[in-house]
């Protein structure tokens, strides 16, 4: 085996761009999903009963069906109701809708695990509803939901590989293409798996560090 510098020149930019797409779609979808999930959980808890029922259907349908089917519905089914999306936005939107349902369940559990006594204390101190949410519920909840949120972020990172099926030019898509072209598909897939593995471990380590920092901040305050 010889060291072929031209291979790096020819493949490097593609791989870098693919890594960029994976990270961009992952982080973008995660951000949207966390915001969406928060509002879904909030709406289910404080909104009218009809809203709770409607949002519940969303959460249960998303959690009960495979991500791949949801993606196909959006990407191949969308055009039939006038929703034509390019692969990257379709992937991003699909991943965000998928993650939002799971994040909403995390936030729901978070809301529920804030002791009622704390909320009652807030009421006794004359805080209004908005202050109770901003000053008591959300700060207490964020420490509680940090570990499952990191977990879900890791799940979403791994789900980005599924986007390759609808031709999003992310890592799995590009590396399968390169692997087939160079007749080294198994090697390419192995490296790819190791790359995700490293990224997931890194994400987990960073997440644990963030959790430790978060909980220390809350305790000293």
């Amino acid at each position: 085996m010889t060291f072929d510098i031209n291979l790096i020149y020819s493949l490097g930019p593609t791989l870098l761009r693919a890594t960029g797409v994976t990270l961009m779609v992952w982080l973008g979808a995660t951000l949207v999903a966390i915001v969406l999930g928060f509002f879904v959980a909030f709406g289910r808890r404080y909104g009218p009963r009809a809203l709770d029922a409607a949002l519940r259907v969303y959460v249960e349908v998303i959690r009960g069906t495979p991500f791949l089917i949801q993606l196909f519905l959006l990407y191949y089914g969308g055009p039939f109701i006038g929703l034509v999306l390019d692969p990257v936005p379709a992937g991003l939107i699909g991943l965000a809708i998928y993650g939002g349902a799971y994040f909403s369940e995390i936030f729901r559990a978070g809301f529920e695990s804030v002791p009622t006594g704390h909320i009652e204390a807030g009421v006794c101190l004359g805080l209004d509803q908005g202050q109770i949410v901003r000053r008591i519920l959300i700060p207490e909840m964020t420490t509680l939901v940090m570990p499952p949120i990191v977990n879900m972020m890791i799940v979403l990172l791994k789900e980005t590989a599924v986007l390759s099926v609808v031709t999003v030019p992310e890592l799995t898509f590009q590396i399968s293409a390169i692997g087939s072209e160079k007749y080294a598909f198994v090697e390419a897939m192995f490296l790819l798996a190791c790359f995700y593995w490293g990224l997931v471990e890194l994400c987990g380590t960073l997440g644990r560090a963030a959790e430790a920092r978060f909980s220390r901040l809350r305790l000293t305050r």
Binding site: E60, G64, P66, G77, F80, M189, Y196, W197, V200
Partner: protein, 214 residues
């Protein structure tokens, strides 16, 4: 969307259930072995178990499936894609189940094992008669979750050419040009199967509840 198309989807979902059930059972067996390795006093065995779990939990299932599907023929195993898919799903779920079972095994009260020692049960008997049943019972809710995850994850084996529910919906939509109702129907079938599985496990949890202190 005709009744005939829907019937084809329902038939294909039989394969989804078949692949999932086999993978869950194989994964449970392998996961038990791996969790035993992780909890063993041999350091190299524990490390091997941890690396296995970390790798299969840390990389996307789709990549694992593509890897195994292409790796097996390289090793001289020309198996049908169905077998490769089951191997891939089993290995992946084994890692998750091993992690769950590790927690279950760790929570077996030491007193029970001491009692078993006193009664002269061999380590093998202790494992199959005391540790495994208790760990399984403790991890039944996690197993329910994992079963639903695998039912959903089995849609990915469509990518390596196994004609299960997702692939059937894909193939039919390619020939009939009505993807929206077909994928919606497939989603509905997945929802129904998952609902049944969730209900079944809830029943099982209730009937296994004896013996667990609340």
């Amino acid at each position: 969307m005709t009744a005939q198309l829907f019937l084809l989807l329902v038939q294909a979902c039989g394969w989804t259930v078949f692949i999932s059930v086999i993978s869950i059972v194989l994964g449970l067996l392998l996961g038990t072995v791996v969790s035993a390795a992780m909890l063993s006093s041999s350091r190299s065995l524990a490390l091997a178990g941890r690396i296995f779990v970390s790798f299969f939990r840390g990389s996307p299932l789709l990549v694992q499936l593509l890897l195994i599907y292409n790796l097996l023929p390289m090793l001289g195993l020309n198996v049908p894609s169905m077998v490769a898919a089951i191997v891939g799903l089993s290995l992946c779920t084994a890692a998750y189940q091993a992690e769950n079972l590790r927690g279950g095994f760790a929570s077996v009260p030491a007193g029970l094992l001491e009692a078993a020692d006193m009664l002269g049960l061999s380590p093998f008997q202790q494992f199959w008669r005391i540790r495994a049943p208790i760990a399984l019972r403790m991890t039944l809710p996690a197993l329910a979750n994992e079963s639903i995850m695998i039912l959903k994850a089995s849609s990915l084996v469509s990518v390596v050419g196994v004609v299960e529910l997702t692939r059937m919906a894909q193939d039919l939509s390619a020939s009939t040009f009505i993807p929206l109702p077909l994928f919606a129907a497939a989603a509905f079938i997945y929802l129904v199967i998952n609902g049944i599985v969730a209900l079944g496990f809830k029943k099982a949890e209730n009937s296994f509840r004896w013996g667990i202190k609340a």
